[in-house]
Structures are given as C-alpha cells and as structure tokens.
C-alpha cells in the first residue's frame, strides 16, 4: 500500500516535470492553448465570482456578529480584505477550479484514451502529451492567479454590500478601511502561490485522465481521483507555501 502510494507520487512527479520541461519546447500549440485559456478562465469566471461574492457576504455577517460585541465594527473591511487576499481567495479559487477543471480534465482525457482519440492524435505524429497535457498545465497555471483576483474583488464587493445594508457604510469609506494597513506583500505572494495550485491541479487531473486505460470505469475513476487528490494536494501545498511566504516576508507572520 505504502509502496504503491510512493510509486504513484513518483509517477505524477515525473509526469509534471515532463509537462514543465515540454512547455518550453516547440511546437507551442498556440491555438489549443488559447482554447484552454478560454475553457479554464472564462468557463470558471462566473463560478468563482459568484462563490466569492457569497463568501464575502457571509464572512461579513459572521465577523460583524462577533466584532459588534467589542465595538470594533470599523475593522470589518480590513478583516475582510486580509482574509480574502491571504487565504480565502487563493484557497477557495483553487478548490473550485480543482472541482470544475480537475474533473473535466480527468474525465475528458480518460474518455479520449478509451475512445482511441489519443492514439489517433499520435497516428498523425502529433505529440498528444504536448497537445492535451502541456496546454492544460500552462493555461491552468496562468489562469489561477487571475481567477483569484476576481474572487478577491467579488469577496470585497460582497462584504461591502453586506456591511452597507447593516450600517450604511459608504463605498469610499469601506475601500479606505479595507486597504488601510494592507501591504503589497499581503496581496502579491498569496495570489502568485495559486500559480502553483494551478500547476498541481492540471498535472494531477491530466495524469489520471491521460494514463488511464480502463474504459468507462477509467473515466469515472479519473474524474474522482482528479478532484479528490488535487483538492487534498493543494491544501497540503498551501501549508508549505504559507510557511515559505512567512519566511520570505516576515512582516506577514505577525
């Protein structure tokens, strides 16, 4: 069991390293890359923005009920922005994309394997790995930080509307309070860490889809494993990345 787990980790790592290496080698499959940018970015946009907005509203409702006891409701906007920039935005975006894109990649590639579409690509002397895996890895790695920014904005907007309904706080004052004391280091490193989440989600989901060979059962397993394993791995990776950010930007670790 343990041996099998280590073997799987080794195979996924080698698969991901190959994707990383091949990303710098021609042909660059620009047309298919754009298709993946659209599929991942535009396809996930509404989901991310809606989730961010709803989370922003709920977060503010919870924070207000606690802070009102201490007369510290003026701190709600900055709590909201820091929570979203540092953790909620990056992690929730990662989990949402792991669910949507991870399952899609796993199921689609496993289906392409089962229906010999991958063999057909290879029969035309086209590298199916470059066409199907590398394009998805690049697109997911680049789109995750962008989607995270949209999640952050939607969260802050949701928080403002919730706060405005409760206390009639103006948008200008809300923004002023939200960004008061927020440094660039609170925003840039946590947003950039989602590029690692994107790389992990695409690598893991493509690995399970591309390497399966079990027909329709393989499609089911690939979709399930893609979501479960990539969600778990990005949470574990988050722990390491947060530690790294604290090491590089000690002011954040207060």
């Amino acid at each position: 069991m343990l041996k099998s787990a280590f073997e799987s980790i080794g195979r996924v790592t080698s698969f991901g390293a190959k994707a990383l290496r091949d990303a710098w080698l021609p042909p660059f499959e620009g047309e298919y890359l754009l298709k993946e940018f659209y599929e991942i970015g535009v396809g996930s946009f509404l989901l991310v923005v809606a989730a961010g907005f709803a989370l922003g509203v709920v977060m503010t409702l919870h924070t207000r009920s606690t802070l009102v006891q201490f007369g510290a409701t003026a701190e709600i906007p900055v709590f909201q922005s820091l929570a979203f920039f540092n953790e909620i935005g990056p992690l929730v975006t990662g989990l949402l994309v792991a669910g949507r894109v991870g399952a899609g990649n796993g199921a689609q590639l496993a289906n392409m394997r089962a229906t010999e579409q991958i063999d057909a690509i290879e029969a035309f002397s086209v590298s199916s790995f470059k066409l199907l895996v590398v394009t998805r890895v690049i697109a997911c790695t680049i789109m995750l930080p962008l989607l995270t920014i949209f999640m952050d904005v939607a969260g802050i907007l949701g928080g403002f509307i919730s706060e405005h309904v409760a206390s009639h706080l103006s948008w200008t004052l809300y923004l002023q309070r939200a960004f008061d004391g927020v440094a660039l280091a609170n925003f840039v490193p946590p947003t950039l860490k989602t590029a690692v989440f994107g790389y992990l989600i695409a690598t893991i989901s493509c690995f399970y889809g591309y390497t399966t060979n079990e027909g329709s059962d393989g499609v089911r397993k690939a979709a399930t494993n893609s979501v479960v394993i990539s969600s778990l791995v990005i949470i574990l990776a988050d722990v390491i990345l947060v530690k790294c950010i604290f090491f590089l930007f000690p002011d954040q670790a207060i």
Binding site: Q108, N111, M112, T115, Q117, A120, A123, F124, S125, V126
Partner: protein, 254 residues
C-alpha cells in the same frame, strides 16, 4: 504455423512482419507472426476477439513497438525510426479506428484539417479547406462539415473517420473493424467506400474484421490469427481449399 505468411515478394512489400512478438502484462498477444502485404493489395486479418488483430495494426503505424522481431513499412523498421522519419512514414498512412476516434471537441472540418496541418506543410489554408471539402464529398458528408461528431450517427461517424484517414491520400490504409456496431446496409456502404478507394487509388489496405462477407468482397488475401499465432495466410480461394475445421470457423460465410 505462425511463420507461414507470404515471404515471396517481400522486396515489393508495403508492409512486412518478421517473427513479431508482442505481449501485455506477461500475456503474449502475438507469437512470432510473419506475413507481408504487397503494394496495392488488400489484406483482411480475421480471428476471434483478443487475438491481437488491432495490436497488429497499431504495430504497423508505430503506436506500439514489437517486443521481438521486426515490423517493416516501406522497408523501414518501425522500431528504429526517429520522430522525423516516423512522421514521414505516417504521412503515407491512414488509420480508421474501430470507434472512428473523431476528436469530439472538433467539428468534422477541423477533424480532417488536423492531419493536413500537421503532416502536409506544403498546403495553404485554402488548399486544406478544399481538400477537406473534397474528401467529405467522397464519403457523402459534404453537408456535414460544421457538425460535431456527437451529432452524427454511428455510420456517419465511421464514414467521417474514413474521410479523416483518407484526407492525406495515403498509400497504405489501416482499417480496424469497419463494420462493428453497424447494421448490414450501413456496413455494406462502408465496404463499398473501401472498394472504391482500393480500385481508384490502388491503396494498400490492411483491414481487421469479423465480417467475413465484407472481407470476401474487399480482401485479396486473408490472414487468420488464433491465440496470437498465424493460423493461415493466403488468398480466400487457397484458404477455402484447406481442410481445417478450425480455419473454416473463421472464413465460412455462415
């Protein structure tokens, strides 16, 4: 018995198998199989499911590598070719997969254009468009170019798969189970298309089939595989003359 394929005229052979072995997970699928296919000849490979018929086709186009022996296409050993030479050989080959293997996220036009874009760098966009339309017309799908594979019936998918295999005007056409999953009439239409290709283009064909009726219509020679070994090889008339009950099970029309 497995070594009784046609050795005569191997110099003129489009494809030659020389004592080819292939196995998966310790199970031998092909055991020292030898035969050759002359240029312009149509060879039908018959046999029960799981006897290595489709594997034989995948060895011919280099999607699989033999464990032992040699697979020669146009005199080139498929196991020793680098990517460029493999692409040159594949440029001369078309492959109709059992499931048609159309790329389900591409329209028919895009499915047919892909091999032209990748394997025929001499054609302009307009020439590619013209070649795609002309090939779709030949299989009776001239009005369906913008359709997605999911919008087509099983027979239309097979015809579209055949069109994709033919779009490069291949010298060698590999066909995996052209009639599987089709009714008798539709299967007959596919057989007629293959006959047309054979007579008009003098294309070398290797057809894996269970349909002895279609095989007798198209095949110049039969190769019968049984438990990984070549049970018989020769013209249909030669095989009809053999007094072998096991062989009769495969080549009898009843």
């Amino acid at each position: 018995m497995s070594d009784n394929g046609s050795r005569g005229g191997q110099d003129n052979a489009a494809i030659a198998f020389e004592r080819v072995d292939k196995g998966f997970n310790g199970r031998k699928v092909l055991d020292k199989v030898s035969f050759s296919v002359a240029r312009g000849e149509a060879l039908c490979i018959l046999g029960r499911s799981g006897t290595g018929k489709s594997v034989t086709l995948k060895l011919m186009i280099g999607l699989l590598k033999a464990d032992g022996g040699r697979v020669l296409v146009e005199g080139e050993d498929m196991a020793t070719l680098d990517e460029d030479r493999l692409a040159k050989i594949r440029r001369k080959m078309g492959f109709l997969f059992q499931s048609a293997a159309l790329f389900d996220s591409f329209s028919l036009n895009q499915n047919l254009a892909l091999p032209l874009h990748r394997l025929d760098r001499t054609k302009s966009r307009d020439e590619i468009k013209h070649a795609v339309a002309e090939t779709l017309r030949q299989v009776g799908l001239e009005k369906d170019g913008e359709k997605m594979p999911v919008e087509l019936s099983g027979g239309m998918q097979k015809r579209a798969g055949l069109a994709r295999a033919l779009v490069l005007k291949p010298e060698i056409l590999l066909v995996d189970e052209p009639s599987s999953g089709l009714d008798r009439i539709t299967a007959g239409e596919i057989d007629d298309l293959l006959m047309k290709v054979k007579t008009e283009w003098h294309t070398t064909m290797v057809i894996v089939t269970h349909d002895i009726h279609g095989a007798r219509k198209i095949g110049d020679k039969f190769a019968v595989l049984d438990e990984g070994r070549l049970l018989a090889f020769g013209t249909p008339e030669e095989l009809d003359d053999k007094q072998d009950n096991r062989l009769r099970q495969f080549i009898s029309e009843r």
